[in-house]
């Protein structure tokens, strides 16, 4: 190997290995690496193996010494052949060794969907690839895939999340199993299923999700996120109201049960009688009141002041959305007692309106009349509901 390239990105140093590294050149390679490291001190190193064809034990010892000096060292872009070497020698268990992305072409593939971030192509009879045009979306794609994988292995019915791939003409893609399914929204709009049927199936799956315990750290903690929303409102709520809101959210016990985070009829599908969950990027864990809060927002809260907007969002009328929400709440809680349902709904509303108020302020809501109306409305609900609520759990 003639040269050793590297890249310095803030605290990260990327060292690019090239060609063959064996006992004949290992000493020279290590000297070069040491020079680069001396000139670019960093606390995180990535060893990029995109162009590495072979590495012998002498080369592996260099990697070991780097890892010893800088604990946060990982190996990236490894070809299948070189991966086998790292795997057999136990390196894959000792440090983060990442395979190079498979490269695929979507030329001539059938386009089966188009979203804001890119297109969805069918690459063979059983699989699709969701292509993201923005190259910076890679961490987000990998995050979503990891969440989906965690949920899938825990038994949550969803499409198989396969690998992340590089697209030949640029960008990255996420490969999934092709589902031959219709969303609950579509089934409801087409009249293929009734509100009652959709509510029942939605709640069955919701209970399965909420009954699944996840490993700490494998998903975001919703309580932490919600505390962030509350803190944001410190300067926008009366002092005593803020204090009570903060206390009630802080008092919600830690909870490792899974929740979806964006559970509505566009994210649940039916395939041959089996109910499947999609859009796993919002998966997290927490007390079920957080899920009910996000459902309340989807079916009511977000569109409260402009009810016709829900038709663009879910494709159903505000009345139908409401009926569905109330039925789901009743099925979920196993009661038809109006007072009991209202009490739980109020708890969900407090968190829901907290989120709406923060979101609208962050989106410069104070600058428009409709924005100010949404903020005022949310604030009023928060104040009124907190006056009659002393705990957010049920």
């Amino acid at each position: 190997m003639a040269e050793l390239n590297f890249e310095k990105k803030e605290s990260l140093l990327v060292i690019k290995l090239d060609g063959y590294i064996d006992s004949a050149n290992a000493g020279e390679v290590e000297n070069k690496i040491n020079d680069i490291r001396a000139a670019n001190p960093s606390d995180k190193i990535e060893i990029d193996c995109e162009k590495l064809k072979y590495i012998s034990s002498a080369g592996l010892r260099i990697v070991l010494r780097i890892k010893k000096a800088v604990c946060d060292t990982s190996i990236i872009n490894v070809s299948p052949e070189v991966y086998e070497i790292f795997d057999m020698t136990g390196f894959t268990e000792m440090m983060d060794v990442r395979k190079a992305f498979r490269v695929i072409s979507v030329e001539g593939c059938e386009v089966i969907g188009q979203g804001a971030n890119g297109k969805v192509y069918r690459i063979d009879p059983d699989t699709i690839v969701k292509v993201y045009l923005n190259p910076d979306s890679l961490p987000e794609i990998e995050r979503e895939r990891e969440l989906a994988r965690t949920a899938f292995v825990l038994g949550i019915p969803t499409a198989i999340p396969y690998d992340v791939v590089r697209i030949e003409n640029g960008g990255f893609g996420s490969v999934f199993e092709l589902l031959n399914a219709k969303s609950f929204a579509k089934l409801l709009i087409n009249g293929e299923k009734s509100v009652d049927e959709i509510a029942t199936m939605s709640v069955d799956l919701l209970k399965l999700i909420h009954g699944t315990v996840v490993k700490e750290g494998s998903m975001p903690d919703m309580k932490e996120v919600a505390i962030g929303w509350v803190k944001f409102l410190k300067d926008y709520l009366p002092e005593d109201v803020y204090a009570k809101l903060e206390k009630l959210v802080t008092d919600i016990p830690a909870d490792l049960h899974m929740m979806h985070g964006d559970y509505h009829i566009k994210n649940v599908m039916l395939q041959n009688g089996e109910v499947l969950l999609i859009d796993m990027d919002t998966l997290c864990h927490g007390n079920p009141v957080f899920e009910l809060a996000s459902m309340f927002n989807a079916y009511y809260g977000y569109c409260e002041l402009e009810p016709e907007q829900i038709e663009d969002f879910l494709g159903i009328t505000f009345e139908t959305a409401n009926e569905l929400w109330q039925k789901m709440l009743s099925l979920y809680l196993g009661t038809e007692d109006k007072k009991a349902l209202e009490a739980v709904e109020n708890k969900a509303k407090i968190i829901g309106y907290t989120r709406i108020m923060r979101r609208t302020i962050r989106r410069k809501g104070f600058e428009t009349e409709s924005g100010r109306a949404v903020i005022e409305n949310a604030k009023k609900h928060i104040i009124d509901l907190l006056a009659v609520t002393d705990s957010l759990t049920f």
Partner: protein
């Protein structure tokens, strides 16, 4: 998909041929449920399994849970490359035992 389930005392061998997808998974599940009761060993022979979809993987997951609950040993044998790759990328290799 065709299924051939053989029972020899407390040992059950389920041979699956063809594709397990959302259409055929319910039959696969039925075959497991009919045979898992009282089994101490459950073997899936995947020599002629061409493809397994998420619906099929969920049946395996359910079987593994039931097997664990009944102290029954479950394993997959003769897994081909295609199916092995599906098991690997989905993380199933780490939760199922394969020979």
């Amino acid at each position: 998909m065709t299924i051939d389930a053989k029972r020899n005392g407390t040992e059950v061998v389920i041979k699956v041929v063809g594709r397990v997808d959302s259409v055929t998974a319910p039959d696969f599940e039925k075959a497991v449920n009919e045979n898992i009761e009282g089994a101490e060993s459950l073997v899936f022979d995947f020599e002629n399994l061409d493809y397994i979809s998420s619906a099929g993987l969920r049946v395996l997951l359910m079987s593994q849970k039931k097997a664990n609950a009944n102290s029954c040993k479950m394993k997959l044998i003769n897994v081909n490359e295609t199916v092995n790759e599906i098991l690997e990328v989905t993380g199933f290799l780490t939760i199922l035992s394969i020979e």
